[in-house]
Symmetry: D2
Subunit: 319 residues, 4 copies
C-alpha cells in the first residue's frame, strides 16, 4: 500500500474537510502518501488529482464545504467508466480510496473495491439518512445552524404572538427535524416517519396562547410538506397570526461544530487503519457512540433507523 486517494461526493457537509485532514495526517504518520481527488468520481475518471500534505490541509479543520469539490456523476455506474477510473488511479500509484459522502456514493467505493482498489466509505451528509449509523458527518453543525436560526425566529414570533411553520432539511429522514425541534422547544415536530394530525396541532397552539405562551413554533421536515402549504392547512383550524419560513441551504455550510470535527477526525483516522489492515468495501458508521463498520453491500437494502424517542419526549412535553 502506497498512496490513498480521497474524494468527497454528493451534497457537501461541514466536517468533510476535517475528515480529509485526518486521513492525510494519519496516512503521513504511517508513511503513506495522500492524493486529493477533486470533483468526486468525475475527477477520479478525469485524473483531477492534487497531492495533500500535512501543511496544505492544516487550515482545513474549520472550513465549511469541501475544498476537494463535489459533483454529480451518474456515469460512474457503468463498468467501463469505473475501469477508466481504476486506470487513472494506477497511473498515479494510488492503490486505495476513501470516499466521503452519502450512501449513493458508496456504490462507487464498492465498485472500486471489486476492481482491486480497496475502498472505504465515510458517512458525509447532513441528512443522517444512512443505514447502520446513528450519525453522519455534518449532522450536528446543520442542526445547530437551524436551531440558531429558529432562536432568532422565536424572538420575532414572541414579539408578535405569532406562529411560525419552519421547514428544515430532510427528505425521507426526519432526524434534523427531530433534533432541532426538541432543541428548539417546538410545539410540534412533523417528520416523514410519523403521521400527524394538523387539527390537533392547531388545537395545541391555541391552548398554548390561551395558557400564556407568546409564540408557536412548528418544525417541519421538508420531505413531508412545504411550510407554506402546511400553514394554509393549519389556518383552517385556527385564526392565529402564522408565517411560513424555510431555513434552506445555509444548513449545509459553515464551520463545523466540535462534535462534527471530532467525529470526522475519528472516522478519517479509522478509515486509514482499515485500509492498512487490508480491508475494503466497508462503510464506517457509529453505533451507541462507537465506530464500527458494515459491508457496503448490506446497506443497500436497509433503511436508517431514526431516534424516534425524541418525538415521543416532545409529544409528552407539549400535549
Amino acid at each position: 500500500m502506497k498512496r490513498i486517494g480521497i474524494l468527497t461526493s454528493g451534497g457537501d457537509a461541514p466536517g468533510m474537510n476535517a475528515a480529509v485532514r485526518a486521513v492525510t495526517k494519519t496516512a503521513i504518520h504511517h508513511g503513506l502518501g495522500v492524493v486529493g481527488i477533486r470533483y468526486g468520481f468525475a475527477g477520479l475518471v478525469a485524473g483531477d488529482f492534487v497531492t495533500l500534505t500535512a501543511e496544505n490541509i492544516d487550515h482545513m479543520i474549520n472550513a465549511g464545504g469541501t475544498f476537494l469539490y463535489s459533483a454529480r456523476y451518474p456515469e460512474f455506474a457503468q463498468k467501463e467508466v469505473q475501469e477508466k477510473g481504476v486506470e487513472q488511479l494506477k497511473k498515479h500509484d494510488i492503490d486505495t480510496v476513501i470516499v466521503i459522502g452519502g450512501d449513493g456514493s458508496y456504490h462507487g467505493a464498492l465498485a472500486l473495491t471489486r476492481l482491486g482498489i480497496n475502498s472505504i466509505g465515510l458517512p458525509g451528509t447532513i441528512d443522517n439518512d444512512i443505514p447502520y449509523t446513528e450519525y453522519t458527518i455534518g449532522l450536528d453543525t446543520a442542526c445547530n445552524t437551524a436551531m440558531q436560526a429558529i432562536d432568532r425566529i422565536r424572538d420575532t414570533a414572541s414579539s408578535h404572538h405569532r406562529v411560525f411553520v419552519v421547514n428544515v432539511m430532510g427528505r425521507d429522514c426526519g432526524d434534523i427535524a427531530m433534533r432541532v425541534g426538541l432543541a428548539s422547544g417546538a410545539d410540534a415536530i412533523v417528520v416523514p416517519e410519523r403521521q400527524f394530525d394538523i387539527k390537533e396541532i392547531a388545537e395545541r397552539l391555541k391552548r398554548g396562547f390561551k395558557d400564556g405562551k407568546d409564540n408557536g413554533i412548528i418544525i417541519l421536515a421538508e420531505g413531508v410538506m412545504n411550510a407554506a402549504d402546511f400553514r394554509t392547512e393549519l389556518l383552517k383550524y385556527g385564526d392565529f397570526d402564522c408565517r411560513a419560513n424555510i431555513i434552506g441551504h445555509m444548513q449545509r455550510g459553515g464551520s463545523p461544530t466540535v462534535l462534527d470535527r471530532i467525529n470526522a477526525t475519528k472516522m478519517g483516522n479509522y478509515a486509514v487503519k482499515l485500509l492498512l489492515d487490508g480491508k475494503g468495501g466497508l462503510a464506517v458508521g457509529m453505533e451507541n457512540g462507537q465506530l464500527e463498520t458494515h459491508d457496503i453491500l448490506d446497506l443497500f437494502d436497509e433503511k436508517h433507523a431514526s431516534e424516534e424517542s425524541l418525538i415521543d419526549i416532545n409529544e409528552e412535553m407539549t400535549k
Copy 2:
C-alpha cells in the same frame, strides 16, 4: 414632567429592548418614572401598562425582539381612539411618550403630541427605510445575520460550483441588500432603487466561472422580485447550476450587535433629554454619524436616501 410611557410598534427589531433600557435608566437618573406600554398603541388605549425599574430591565440589553410586544392597531388613526389613549395616560400620570418603531408609528407620536402629550419617535426597524436618517435600530444586526447566512451558503455554492440567488429583506428600500451584498462579495446586488439587466448579470457570472471563480452569489431585495422567479429568468441566459434561497424572518431576531446596542442606547438617552427640554413631535435620526431630530411632520413627504455608492463600488469590483 413625571412619568414617561414607552412603547414599541410595527415589526420588531434587535435593539428595541436596549433602547427601552436606556430610556428607563436615563429617566430614573433624572428622577422620572418609566412605564412600559405593552402591545404598542393597542396597549396604550387598553391601559396595558407595566412599571419599569433599573433592575427589571437590566437583562434586556442583549435580548432580541421586543419584550413590550408589538401589535398592529390601525384604529389609532381615529381621533376618538387617540383621546381614549390620552385619557389612559393621564389616569396613570404619564405625561410624555417615546415610540420606537417605523415611520408609520410616528403618526401616533405626532397625534399624542398634538393632544398635549409630548412624544418622541425613535427609528426602530431593520429596514432602514425612514427619511432623514441614515440608520435605524436593528439594521446592523439584520445585516450581520443575513451576511453570516450567506457565508454559509457560499460554502455550499463553492463546493458545487453553483450560483445562489438570495432574497434578503427590503420592500421599497435596498439598504439591507446593498450592505449585505457588498459585505458578502456578491457578484450582483439587485435593489428597488436601481434598474438591473438580468442578461448582463448572467454574463458576469459565466465570465466569473470561466476566470476561475467557484461560486456565484446574487443578493436580491425581496421588494424587487422573488428569488425563485429571478432564478428562472437568469437561467434563460446561462446554464450554470443555480438555486434560490430566502433568508426570511430570522433577519428580524437575535441578540443585537455592538452598533445596534450603542445606537439604541444613545437614542434612548437622547429622547429622554428632548422630553426634559419640553420637546415633542420630533423624530430622532442619525446624519453623518451624529444624532439629530426632525419634525415628524416633515418625514411624511420625504423618502429615505440610500447610500447608493455601495452599489457603485460593487459594480466597479464585479464588472
Copy 3:
C-alpha cells in the same frame, strides 16, 4: 407523589435551564406540580421557592446560566440542616427533589433520599468530571465556545507565525481540553491524565514551522499548569514567537448547543419518570449514548473515565 422540587447547585452550566424546563413540562403532563428552589441547597433550607408553570419556563430552553441561581452551601453536610430542609419541603407539599449539578451536589440528593424525600441527581457541569457518565450537561456548549475562541486565535497566530498556549477549563479532568484540542487541530493537548514532554512539544512546533505550518496551538487544561508558566518553560526549548491565553469564564455561559439542549431535555424527562417509579438516591448518566442510572453512593469512590483515545489520535496526527 404530588410536587417535585428542583434546584441547581455548583457551577452553572449551559443546559441547566433546559433541564429544568423538561422536568417542569414532563411533570405537568403527568399531573404533578413543580417548584423551583432558588440558590441551591441554601434556598431549600431557607424556603426560597417559586412555582414553575409550562408558560413561565417556556423561554428557558435557550437561556444560558441557571435562572434558579446557584450558591455554595457547605452547611448542608450537617444532619440538622438537612432536616430543616426536609421540613421546608414538607411544609410546601414537595415530596421529591431533582438536583442538577456536579457530584458534590449529589451528596445532598442522597441525604434527602435517606430522610424520605426521593431525590435524583442530574449531571450538570461543563467539566465532565462525574464518574459513570461520559457526558455532563454543558460540556458540548463549553467545548464549542472554547473552540470558536481558538479558531479566532488561530487567525492571529497564523498572521504572525506565532505559537499560542491556551488554557481551557478542567481541574482534574482533561475532557474539555481533549475535545477542544482535537477539534482545533492542536499541535499538542496537555491534560492531567497524561504525562507530557515539554521539550518534545517544542521540537514538534519547530518541525511544524520548518515544514511550512504558519501557526502553533497548544491546548492546556488549567489543572495542569497556567498558560503563562507553560509558555516560559516552552521557550527554553525554542525561540519562536509565543503567547499565553486563558479562555476563562466565558466557557461557562452562553446559549446551549443542540446536543446540550437535547441531552438536558432527555435527562430532565427521565428523572421525572424515575421519581414516578418510586426511585430515589440515583444519579442519571450516559453510557454509550444511552441514559442509565447508578446509586449515588457508588459514585463517591469512583473516578470519571476520560475518552483518552482522543489524545492518542491527536498524537498520531501531530508527531
Copy 4:
C-alpha cells in the same frame, strides 16, 4: 502607473483581507496589476511578492487575520533599507504601494512616497488609536467578539450573583472598552482617557445588588490596569464575589462584521483611486461617517480623539 503593491503591517485585524480584496478588484477594473507583498516591510525588502488576481482573492472577504502575513521590521526606519525596498519594487514593476496597518506602519508609506513610490496608508488595527479617524478596520469585529464573550460571562455572573472585572484590549486608547462597555450594559467602564474612583465603583456595585441586580460587570481597558489587580483593589471596598477575566487575543481574529467588511472595501477602493489621481503620502480616515484623507506627516503629532460621550452616557445610566 502599472502595478500596485499591497502589504499589511503591525497587528492583524479582521477586515485586512477584505481591504486587500477591494484593492485588487478595483485595480483590475482600472487595468492595473496588483502584487501582494508578504510579511509587511520585511517582505518588501526581501522581495517576497505574490501576484493577486480577482479569483485568488475571491474567498478572502470573510477570512480573519491577514493572508499576506505581518511581521515586525524596525530596520525599515533606515534609509538604506528603504532604498533596497524601492529597488525591489522597481525590479517588479511596482510603482505604487498601499499599506494597511497602524500609524506606525505609515512611517514606511511616507518613506516610500518620498523615494518616488506613491503610497497610501489604510487604518488597519482593532485598537482605533490612529489620529484623524473615528474608525479603524477591525474595530467593529473586535468589539462584537468581546461583547459576545461578555454576554456569556454575564450568564455565569448572574447565576452566582457575582462581579466580573473584564480586561479588553486597548493600551492607550479606551475605544474598545467604551464601546464594549456601553453595549454590554457595564456597571463601570475604566479607560486611560478618564480618571476613576475605585471606591465609588464598589459602592455602585453594592447598591446594584441591594436594589435587586444579580450581577456586576466592569470593563477595563488593559492599558489602565490588569483585571486581577483591579479586582484586588475593588475587594478592599466591598465583600461581593468577584472574578477577573481577560478576553485576550481572540479579539484580534475571526471573520469580520458587515461594518468592517464594508469599510475595508470602501477604503481599499478609495485608496486605488487616490493613487490613480497621482496622490501619495496620504492616510485614509473616516470623519462623521465619510472617507477623507490627511497628510501622513500631520498624524505624527496628533492623538486620536475618542468618543468620550459614550462614557458620559454610561455614567448617567449607572450612577
